[in-house]
């Protein structure tokens, strides 16, 4: 450390926030931002409505699709006020309100898969809501990590470092599902590389993966405080 603490520069700060772009005056910018938000939140929305209303997967997908269409059509995302909380919490509340309204409508018309959804009893409402919130947060974390993996793969391909990405996946993704995670030596043999090269690949890809995750989170938040909160949430510190 040599008496000096180097300035910590982990966090990307230059990327335009999608949350801000959602409120842009430029319709084209809004549409692109919306598409990217949908990419992250599509699965969490599907899973949360499927779980909360015990829907068939196809019905849950339809409902999520409708939600995003209505949200785009009525500019719901523009109503987000960063001073009042996180974007993720705002979106979850939008989904809850939309699903409740749709259920009432479908039930009144006795039409569609949603009309057959099991209504949640009042007594179980709070527990079901908490359970759905937990599902939403968990799926959000999965989507963020998935998006960062895609970004890492694209970066590796562009840099001609596909092998590095393969080593990373073998060690930190597929390796996690094994009873005994692979050692550097086992990976070196499997990929025909020196052990030091495996370490180097992991060193580089982890740095880039970390950067991709933080970039994704930065883009999904509106302020530095919200960003740091989402980093903590992703690491599992704030999630239930």
């Amino acid at each position: 450390m040599n008496g000096q603490v180097r300035r910590v520069s982990l966090f990307p700060s230059t990327r335009l926030s999608l949350v801000h772009a959602l409120a842009s005056d430029d319709a084209h910018v809004r549409a692109i931002a919306f598409e990217r938000v949908v990419r992250i939140y599509r699965t969490p929305v599907i899973e949360v409505v499927r779980r909360q209303w015990q829907l068939e997967p196809a019905d849950a997908e339809d409902l999520a699709h409708d939600f995003f269409l209505v949200a785009l059509d009525r500019d719901w995302m523009q109503r987000f006020d960063p001073a009042r909380g996180r974007f993720r919490t705002f979106l979850r509340a939008c989904v809850r309100d939309f699903a409740n309204a749709e259920h009432r409508r479908a039930h009144a018309l006795k039409r569609g898969g949603f009309a057959r959804a099991v209504p949640v009893e009042d007594a179980d409402l709070a527990a079901a809501d908490a359970d759905a919130d937990s599902t939403f947060d968990h799926e959000w974390a999965r989507s963020v990590l998935d998006a960062a993996l895609d970004a890492l793969e694209a970066e590796c391909r562009a840099a001609g470092r596909e092998r590095a990405y393969q080593v990373f996946r073998a060690y930190d993704v597929e390796g996690a599902d094994l009873r005994e995670p692979p050692t550097y030596a086992a990976l070196a043999e499997a990929f025909g590389l020196p052990v030091t090269q495996v370490a180097n690949h992991l060193h580089w890809t982890r740095q880039r993966f970390r950067h991709a995750v933080l970039e994704t989170l930065r883009s999904l938040t509106a302020s530095d405080a919200e960003f740091r909160g989402e980093v903590r949430a992703l690491l599992g510190h704030d999630l239930p």
């Binding site: 450390m1 999965r142 996690a176 982890r206 993966f209």
Partner: protein, 301 residues
């Protein structure tokens, strides 16, 4: 591609915090996470041994936190004692986070270990903790966060005090900020009064640790031991043991069946203690008197 499994998610979350230490160190797993730093089990390829690496957590990033981790490494390096985790190396990662490499302690947290320990084993381990903390005090360092989970009992019964992240120099007690773990904080820590922080703050912490450990004992805690914990955890620092050495001495005196300074024992308890201390001599004396009486009685017949 199939969606990420929950295990893969967990692994990738850990990866976000993983320190990139170069080819020498193979980072195996996350073993602990605190407010400021994460600790990893790491294999040192050069020395072919496992070590632990503490690195600034990704979400704790700030120059203040980085400075605190660096200060912790330096404080530990200066505290050369078998009961204080040894630091082997320190540095800064490419991403700017400070880290340090230390001994990897195999064993159990003191709180877990104490659940199956006898009272005497527990007190013996406690005096070892006191010795380590007293050694730090002798070098002017106050731990400020002594809890059962910050102390490890190794494979061979050795005790190691960890987590010196809140440690301060007695001469530089830091800012007016409450520090420590609720339930183990001295009143002067709760108030956040830096000028009141001294060795007696750790005396309180150690007393609170002893109270927590004794709570798990299935046998009644002897009154002198209860008196020791009461004196150690007195609200007023002036009413506590004035040093950790004095606290440890009182515990050792009880273990050696000697009177403890924190407890004025009634006469019958003193007799019982003296019997316990000189049990063999007393039994031999009783046997001798018995034999003499028997011989006397036989002669009279």
């Amino acid at each position: 591609m199939s969606p990420l499994s929950n295990k893969a998610m967990l692994r990738l979350r850990e990866t976000l915090d993983f320190p990139e230490l170069g080819p020498r160190y193979d980072v195996r797993e996350l073993v602990g996470r605190g407010g400021m730093g994460s600790v990893f089990r790491v294999f040192d390829d050069v020395l072919a041994r496992e070590v632990a690496v503490k690195v600034l957590s990704i979400e704790a990033e700030s120059s203040v936190a980085a400075g605190m981790l660096t200060a912790e490494a330096r404080a530990l390096a200066a505290l050369d004692h078998a009961g204080i985790v040894a630091v082997h190396d320190a540095g800064t990662l490419d991403d700017g986070r400070p880290y340090y490499v230390m001994r990897f302690v195999r064993g159990a947290r003191l709180g877990v270990w104490a659940r199956t320990a006898t009272l005497r084993d527990l007190l013996r381990a406690f005096t070892q903790v006191c010795d380590a903390v007293a050694s730090a005090h002798a070098r002017g360092v106050i731990h400020r966060d002594l809890t059962p989970s910050n102390i490890m009992v190794g494979e061979y019964g050795e005790v190691v005090v960890l987590d010196w992240g809140l440690a301060v120099r007695a001469s530089e007690p830091g800012g007016r900020v409450p520090a420590g773990t609720p339930g183990f904080q001295a009143p002067e820590q709760v108030v956040g009064e830096p000028s009141a922080i001294d060795a007696r703050t750790d005396v309180f912490g150690l007393g609170a640790v002893l109270v927590a450990l004794l709570a798990g004992q299935s046998v009644p805690v002897p009154r002198p031991v209860r008196a020791i914990t009461a004196r150690a955890t007195a609200m007023d620092p002036a009413a506590r043991y004035q040093s950790v050495v004095a606290l440890a001495d009182d515990v050792r005196r009880w273990m050696d069946a000697e009177p403890v300074s924190a407890y004025r024992e009634p006469v019958f308890e003193r007799i019982g203690r003296l019997y316990q201390r000189h049990q063999v001599v007393v039994l031999l004396l009783v046997a001798y008197v018995g034999v003499r009486l028997l011989m006397f009685w036989l002669q009279r017949r």
